[in-house]
Symmetry: C3
């Protein structure tokens, strides 16, 4: 009942923000503009929600200086309101601490090592030659195979699998159902039968990465599949063998990245996008949702493929024409197919 | 060997159907038109399969009145043959009943409560302050975190994870590998590093919902991610934080719905479709398979995006032209780019 | 430290290859052209990597006869360098052998049978009437339901679920998180509510198949979902109920196949492609990545849908025109809409 409580003055000082209005306003929680009530602070970061400003019942707001004139509610002025909100929000997060020690049901190979400050949950198994470092949390039902390493302060929430040769850095967070280090999809056709190509490499996950629920990252065929530091993967992403992802790149849910492709740093990949194999994407590229990248990208910028959504009746007529687009182009006077 | 047996007369009475032909015809099982044999009843619901009617060896058929003249086999006449088939089919389903009680291997926090009629399978863990109601079934290997609630008569088949603050209604069915209540993908960029936005909300699943295998539903950042009653999700679907889905909406496999979007009631979302974040889709919208919804939809109807499949040689020529479509349009006399 | 070591002469004899250069060259490992070093053999199969040939520090190479003139490094000449590489690579794979026997934590129904040579890992549960054959490996955390069968020499790596009525052939490899035999997505609408259609069938997986991590294969509604022999599925694939897949077909990651569709033999389905329900694809069809198959395909060949990736600014202009493509076509003199 008696959770944390802060005045605007305290929050402003803590996070170096400017106050407008009553500095003694008490805040006991965070909320959206639409749902905020007594003693809750709301925020305006996405201009889509500006129209909710006049209706909000928030006790206080976090917003940009330019938006402050839109309201008479007490405000914290932030250069980046979303960042300020994230930090203030964290003050109200209740996290139960994992208990150090190994649950009696866990099965740990005699050649594995577990730091005494680490927490190993029920029904966890840890294979030969694997190491769990200080303060790491291995939640219920995780399976850690052989030759794996989980760095200090990393957390595998629950039911995560590290198959083999998976190196997890420090402060990495892996959500339930993720599978790292499964054999990549390497096949050669011989005499009408598929022959399996051994997958001798591993997976390396840099410090501070986050891996979403049910995301899969295959181990390398030769060499490793590598995520640099602070890479953020959402849920249900598929990362093929020997993919490399640069630092601070964020990938939204349901994206598929085929084998041996290389994605730069500070890239943003939209949801359900696809990236074919054996290509390179340079730093600071943004791929929009549901787009397919079929060739290397050497210039930073924003890229898209696909067609707009239409009512199906309209769409069908246009889609039928797409099948004859080349023909259409040839019929247009002055349009030279050789130009393309 | 001696399973259930019904005459057409019994089935007709039970489900209020009309009989054509011998009412004493004995039925001991259901099958497709193509595979049905002695004492099996087949059905014709999808007109694609009408051509199989002349070849079928079914002992009896379920079909629409209008199709009855196409056959001399004894029939049950139904307004909706698929519904009638579903009900008759259920008579032949063998379900093993879960045994009430807690498997000795399960690990249950002392502050959690489990109804004595509930069934808790092997290797299940249940966290602090969680409650499992009457007749609920928690299958092998499920992980239930803190502050979760599973309503009466709901079933988590096996290896389901409820991370934290997940409220499951009554008669909900969740298939293996599903992960509900993982932290949403909330990130803010500060000084070149990603800052995690706390995910303080939960997940609420209405009565009678179904959640497919390996589907993921993230918990809300502020407020909850909500599925109303009777929502049906197929496998491998990704539902972002704070999404709201209206009653009776059905979503096919591999769909991705980005955060904070709102889908109406009685919508049908085709397989592998995508829905971007922060939009609204009104009731009774049908999105075709593999289409991307990039803006709010305010009119019921059917919507599509994408292009038709072609032989790659043809496709390549047309796709190359797509890259110059605006230029083409400008060359056409009378076509004013300002119009668009 | 002292792993396997072979001379080129030994490798050439073992795999029937031709040698160019010093036959006594010693090989202690395999690597890519870019990373190979002392006593490691590299390979050139994909011409994309030909440019790395001049820089490689590999001790020896596997390549096609036609490429041999590009290097002075000792070579093994192979008709298919990737096949030769796969076989040589396997000589250097370290696999830990599973120990026969049942881990004491496993929970096995009294009516299930487990061959004494099979290996059952920790936290495995096996349901009524299921059978595990000789030398099969059931890894940690797998859940096997009722009436399942795992053939000889098959391996379920870890955390695999076979729900019910799943028949796995011999030498099948299933990666973590895969779910086979969950109820298909069968729904009928009655009086504004969804009615569940019972899923009475099972799943049959042929000999030598491979199923990727977090892939889902639903059981049939009536009859079974069937994969013929040597079918290879990558990660995160969704296979709907009653799908049939022909022998030697390979499907890349994140593909979705809707219910009751039939895919031929020797097909290659690219990553994140989609296949709608109730259609047939003949043998030897190649579907490119991210393409949607909306109708049956009766001719072998390569097929694609979608549009090329462009800078978003360019893409937006072209995409806007796509919405009026039919209108454009009608404006072009001599273009008759009836033709399409």
């Amino acid at each position: 009942m008696s959770g944390p409580c802060f005045t605007l003055a305290q929050l402003a000082e803590k996070f170096d923000l400017k106050i407008m209005g009553d500095a003694d306003t008490k805040i006991i929680g965070v909320a959206t503009l639409a749902t905020a009530g007594k003693n809750q602070i709301g925020f305006l970061a996405n201009s889509l929600y500006k129209k909710q400003l006049s209706q909000t019942k928030a006790e206080a707001l976090i917003l940009r200086e330019a938006d402050a004139e839109l309201t008479t509610i007490p405000c914290l002025i932030a250069k980046d309101p979303y960042v300020a909100f994230a930090k203030i929000s964290a003050l109200f997060e209740i996290k139960s601490l994992a208990t150090p020690g190994i649950h009696p049901s866990a099965v740990i190979d005699s050649s594995a090592s577990v730091d005494p400050t680490a927490s190993i949950g029920p029904f966890v198994s840890i294979g030969a030659s694997s190491r769990i470092e200080a303060n790491a949390v291995i939640g219920a039902g995780c399976v850690i195979g052989e030759h794996c390493h989980v760095g200090a302060n990393s957390e595998l929430v629950a039911r995560v699998t590290l198959v083999t040769r998976v190196q997890i850095g420090q402060r990495v967070l892996i959500h339930p159902g993720a599978v790292l280090g499964a054999e990549g999809f390497g096949l050669a056709m011989e005499a009408g039968q598929w022959l399996k190509v051994p997958q001798l490499g591993g997976v390396i996950i840099g410090d501070g990465c986050e891996i979403g629920a049910n995301t899969t990252i295959d181990r390398g065929a030769l060499g490793d599949t590598v995520l640099a530091e602070d890479v953020r993967l959402d849920n249900q992403i598929q990362i093929g063998h020997n993919v490399q992802i640069g630092a601070h790149t964020a990938i939204a849910g349901a994206v598929a990245v085929a084998g041996s492709s290389k994605i730069g740093s500070y890239c943003l990949i939209g949801g359900a996008a696809g990236i074919v194999g054996h290509i390179e994407i340079c730093d600071k590229v943004r791929i929009n949702a549901f787009s397919l990248v079929t060739h290397s990208i050497t210039e930073p910028g924003e890229y898209t493929s696909g067609t707009p959504l239409q009512e199906s009746r309209e769409w069908r007529k246009n889609a039928a024409r797409f099948k004859h687009l080349d023909e259409m182009a040839r019929k247009i006077k002055g349009n030279n197919p050789k130009e393309d």
